[in-house]
Amino acid sequence: MSGRRRRLPLLITAVIGVIAPIAVMTPPLAGARAGGQMVEIGWLSQTQKRTLPLTYLDQPPSDEGIAGARLGIADDNTTGRFTGQSFELVESVAPAGADVRAAFGELAGKGVKLVVTDLDAPQLLAVAALPEAARATIFDTAAPDDQLRARDCRVNVLHLLPSRAMLADALVQYLVVKRWTQLLLVVGRSDGDREFGADIKHAATKFRADIVEEKPWTFTPGARRTDTGHFQIQAEIARFTQGINYDMLVVADEEDEFGDDLSYRTFDPRPVAGTQGLVPSAWARPFEQWGATQLQDRFFRQAKRWMTDRDYAAWMATRAIGEAATRTQSTDPTVISAFMRSGRFELAAYKGARLTFRSWDGQLRQPVLLADTRSLVSVSPQPGFLHQFSELDTLGVDQPETKCRLQ
């Protein structure tokens, strides 16, 4: 999940700026780049103090997000060779603890009006409220918070990642199709966990599943690596899940403090889904349908690691800008933003469907993948969940229910 890893011990230093931006592609072909039109896209992120996740295997990469933006820019420039447009990423990575508003001000001072951000919700709101941001468009590629699509929505912000509500709906739709409808919900201690837990409950009501019991996870995480520690964990999880009659354990633990410890240790043999186990997400390593293999390969070649959902969101943001610039034949940020919000815009992003932005909250409509670490299990919306306008709108908050008032 994307809201994961926002805490304590490990400070990952900003190695981010080191990797040079993708080199300029082959020289222009016939008729290309006549006027030398340039689109500048800002990148704003902050070095994070992050939690060491429970699993040793997947450490958060230091260039997460920005690597996706760089690939999107490279793809945009390949297209630009034929249309006479070029794209440049103006990168700004604020140090941990620094005021991101100043960094945004600097980007705005350079005339950058399209800014892709990898920031958490409070930082995003602080930046979006700046006077310099009033005429800019901010592409949020990191914050899945429902509130950013509800009371805290902003007219100058578009959201590329699915909200927690969309992820929860995607998962519960699949569980209902499988008829695994009796759910044990285990919720961690972060605000994000609580929001995802609430979204699961809401989805269960909407799609007719039952939360048979909800249990908060109250154990504080200790040392990960103690010899023979597995005896204790096994006994603890077995006790924790004993005496409950359920089909599926759904866990909300975005920072991976305990979620990976649940599978195979429950009292009854029950599968795990949610932030661990079967995970709903925008992107997943095992995904290779609808040409996704090509994006996985391109990304791996460039970044020397697998693409995460935040990389994917940043790629989509830069590709959406590129697509709007190509279609409008304009480099004017106002024209580009207006086109993206219009009915004529569509983004192809390896999900088979045309992706568009919801007019009521700026959220990108998109299918959600359901995968574990080794295989893609399904893609929601599930067949049969019908909608008046778009089946993609069976995921997340639909227009009639929205609490967002864009202004």
Binding site: A30, T78, G384
Partner: protein
Amino acid sequence: MRTAHGQTKIVMRGPGPGIHEKAARALRVLVDSRAKPGQDGLFEGASRRLPAITMLSAIVGAFLSPFPLAAADTIYVSNEKDNTITIVDGAKLEPVKTIPVGQRPRGILLSKDGKSLYICASDSDHIEVLDLAADKVVRTLPSGTDPEFFALDPTGKLLYVANEDDNLVTIVDVVQGTVLTEIPVGVEPEGMGVSPDGKYLVNTSETTNMAHLIDTKERKVVANILVDSRPRRAVWTADGAQFWVSAEVGGTVSVIDAANRQIVKRITFAVPGVATEAIQPVGIAITNDRKLAFVALGPANRVAIIDAQSYEVLRYLLVGQRVWSLAFSPDQSRLYTTNGVSNDISVIDVSAQKVVKSIPVGQAPWGIVSRP
């Protein structure tokens, strides 16, 4: 596999289309018995009716309109998941042989003399040449990485190959077995179509959303036409006046005038009861007299029949699931479709505009050609 009712069911995996078809059928029955009323996706529900409908039309067809007599062709189908080619007898409309080939065979083409079949073995990163007398792969050609689709120039000496991973079109000398040159194009080159006179090559790039017109003598891109999202196939009309480009995600087909390089018509599709997202045009086939065009609509499980003069969609034929590639029989009396999810091909009678039969092939059928 354990079913909801507790019986143990064994689904066999292995070579031979018969087994796959049985497994697919068993799975379909399983899905049917478990689906709640009102929960069926509309197009899914429709596709489940397919076997009955095709069977019925096959029976009716057998009595009322016998298959066109001229068709004594042989049909070749690449099976993307099986790594095989299925050979189908065009007279009996039955599969007769399965040949193992390289990894992930997708695009296939007949050589100019009709004696060989060229196969894009995408995961093997080369092109294989299948000798159709011996039914054996006899040589391989270089192709660049991940070849998906290609086109043969009218002399039969050059293959133009789209390399999805490298943003290149590779030109291969078939006789020498060497790469002549590479032409940089947009992101994820896919569709390839050579004009009937061989002077131009159209290549589509899936992420750049363009049709690139390449002068084959100069080996240079001379025009770029922006089309809708994720363009797939580019098919020329026999008179060389137009080429048609399908856009899978955009859901349209653009008809492009070859002389002035402008889009003259953007054809859109609407199938009652099918979600617009499920309409994903891929394969295109246009009759030589340019009266009719056929477009495969992917997960909509339909082939659209279009009046190629007025560009009006005349009707939609229900075929198998995820209909992908199209090929005419040599006399154009029939059209064949590969159906990637239902693991079969559909046979369409062109003059009657009807599906007359579906034939089981291997797993995930992709490319298809027919030889006299």
